[in-house]
């Protein structure tokens, strides 16, 4: 085989977390011999985020022990602790906040997301108000949990907020969870499992308040003292964790001419970024939480996924395509998957549960704390969620990949009479406190419009 024409030159990867790291490894694995630079805003080498809201907050793992193992050496220049501040697509340069310019032949954008802050900046600065996205955030909050707060308020009952509430209960800390939507996790899993999650939280002693917003965080002498709710009630709390979802780190691309906005950086199925006219670029690639890409299983709607597995899979495809000539490129078609552990249960998902009109309880039941819910859209299977039944998900993944008819046949059910499908009750994300971790964002790559939510 002739030598790949694209295995030399300069590649810059902006974002030194999971996606950036796996892309760098894949580039070297597949024969890239040129100059490789990784830029990371945080001063730390790549680390794993999922343990932060679980073992780290439980106090079982130290926050500085969550570093990621490498698959291989990447022989890269690591520029850590410096933010990318701009992109010059004509001059093919990344601009760094320290004034440095990094020229590139091909660029990978893997800048991910950050925690959505509390909208009132003064209240957000109160001692006792936290977000959890980075290892430093988790370290500070774990210390505060060690000190034994009297009550923790968690604002937003998505996966992050629910996991933090679970940690509080496991540590014997009183916790109030406030969620504007009708139930926890409802933005990701729909109404039926949202009801299950609400019962689960209450059974574990969480003071769960749905259908309310936090109207104010109160402080005294710079310290958080409590919060007021939209229903007129108030609580005393010495810690508040803001879990309102994520904001995509795309501001540095505002003048780049790319299709980058609050919903991410739009790219094609091969991870190539679109410009603002919807024209695909050939030297700028995107991977991980910041990417917005079309998926054929979901009618080619643009998807944004804040998932560990997507960061890995998309980074591998992006890296392969960065050094492969056109006919050898691969599409990123992986079925979305994620997990969460909370209140002693293992929750796993395949497909996109919010891309559904109906859901059926295919196995188990909420009562036994073990179940599989299967989601369908217009008569085909589009997702499945298991609670303590992970071994079954492979079966449903195949159904999703083959667009199997919904509801699924009785072979997969453990009862003689399978349950009847019910509406999946996926709420409009704008009525929720927690941001959805999966966002279907329509069909148009260059569409920048989005609803800017006042928060709370």
């Amino acid at each position: 085989m002739p030598a790949e024409p694209r295995s030399d030159g300069r590649i810059v990867i902006v974002g030194a977390s999971l996606a950036g790291l796996r892309a760098a490894e894949t580039l070297r694995d597949e024969g890239f011999r040129g100059e490789l630079t990784l830029v990371g805003e945080e001063p730390h080498p790549p680390y794993d985020r999922p343990p932060l809201t679980k073992q780290v907050l439980l106090g079982r793992v130290r926050a500085d022990d969550v570093g990621l193992p490498r698959r291989r050496a990447v022989e890269a220049h690591w520029k850590l602790g410096v933010r990318a501040s701009g992109l010059d697509p004509d001059g093919k340069k990344v601009l760094l906040a320290n004034g440095e310019h990094l020229p590139f032949d091909r660029l990978l954008i893997a800048t991910g997301t950050r925690a959505r802050p509390w909208p009132d900046a003064d209240a957000a600065r109160l001692d006792g108000v936290f977000t959890v996205r980075t290892r430093d955030d988790a370290s500070r909050l774990a210390e505060r949990f060690d000190a034994g707060p009297r009550r923790v308020l968690v604002i937003g009952a998505g996966f992050t907020g629910s996991e933090i509430a679970s940690v509080c209960r496991e540590r014997g800390i009183e916790v109030t969870v406030a969620e504007r939507g009708p139930a926890p996790l409802v933005g990701a899993l729909g109404g039926a499992l949202g009801t299950f999650a609400a019962r689960l939280q209450r059974a574990h002693g969480v003071d769960l308040r749905c259908g309310v917003t936090v109207t104010a965080l109160k402080g005294d002498g710079g310290r958080l003292t409590g919060a007021e709710f939209s229903d007129g009630s108030r609580i005393d709390a010495d810690v508040a964790v803001i879990a309102l979802g994520a904001v995509r780190n795309t501001e540095w691309l505002a003048d780049s001419g790319l299709a980058a906005g609050p919903r991410g950086v739009a790219c094609d199925a091969g991870c190539r970024a679109f410009d603002m006219y919807g024209i695909v670029t050939d030297d700028i690639f995107v991977a991980g939480d910041v990417a917005r890409f079309p998926h054929p299983l979901f009618e080619y709607q643009m998807l944004s996924l804040e998932h560990w597995g997507n960061a890995v899979a998309q980074a591998e495809v992006a890296a392969h395509n960065m050094i492969s000539a056109g006919p050898h490129r691969r599409p990123h078609l992986a079925v979305p998957v994620f997990w969460s552990s909370q209140f002693g249960l293992n929750i796993k998902s395949v497909g996109v549960p919010t891309f559904s009109d109906q859901v059926v309880l295919a196995q188990g039941s909420p009562e036994e704390g073990r179940l599989v819910a299967v989601y369908g859209y217009r008569g085909r299977v589009t997702a499945a969620v298991s609670v303590n039944r992970a071994k079954w998900l492979e079966h449903y993944r195949r159904m999703i990949e083959t667009a199997a008819p919904f509801p699924p046949g009785p072979g997969a059910a453990d009862g003689p009479e399978p349950a009847a499908p019910v509406p999946s009750d996926v709420p409009d994300p704008k009525v929720l406190s927690h941001g959805p971790t999966v966002a279907l964002t329509g069909h148009l790559p260059d569409r920048r419009l989005t609803l800017v939510r006042p928060g709370g």
Partner: protein, 69 residues
């Protein structure tokens, strides 16, 4: 030495929890919790656990980016 477990792939077979109980433990019936930083005296056990994992979900390796320059 660091580890990361692909918890999408993990199905809770718990072979690792038997082979290296100081590093891996089931949290509830099925959710795996583990210590990402492996103590030196656990390294052999962790390598055995990685080999024995039926779904090959455990990655063992040096800390990424440690050779940062």
């Amino acid at each position: 030495m660091q580890i990361v477990v692909d918890l999408n792939r993990c199905q809770g077979y718990a072979q690792c929890a038997f082979l290296a109980p100081q590093v891996f433990a089931l949290h509830g019936e099925e959710a795996l919790a583990y210590s990402p930083a492996v103590p030196d005296d656990q390294l052999d056990r962790v390598r055995k656990a990685a080999t024995a994992c039926p779904v090959q979900a455990i990655l063992v390796g040096e800390q990424a980016g440690a050779d940062a320059g």
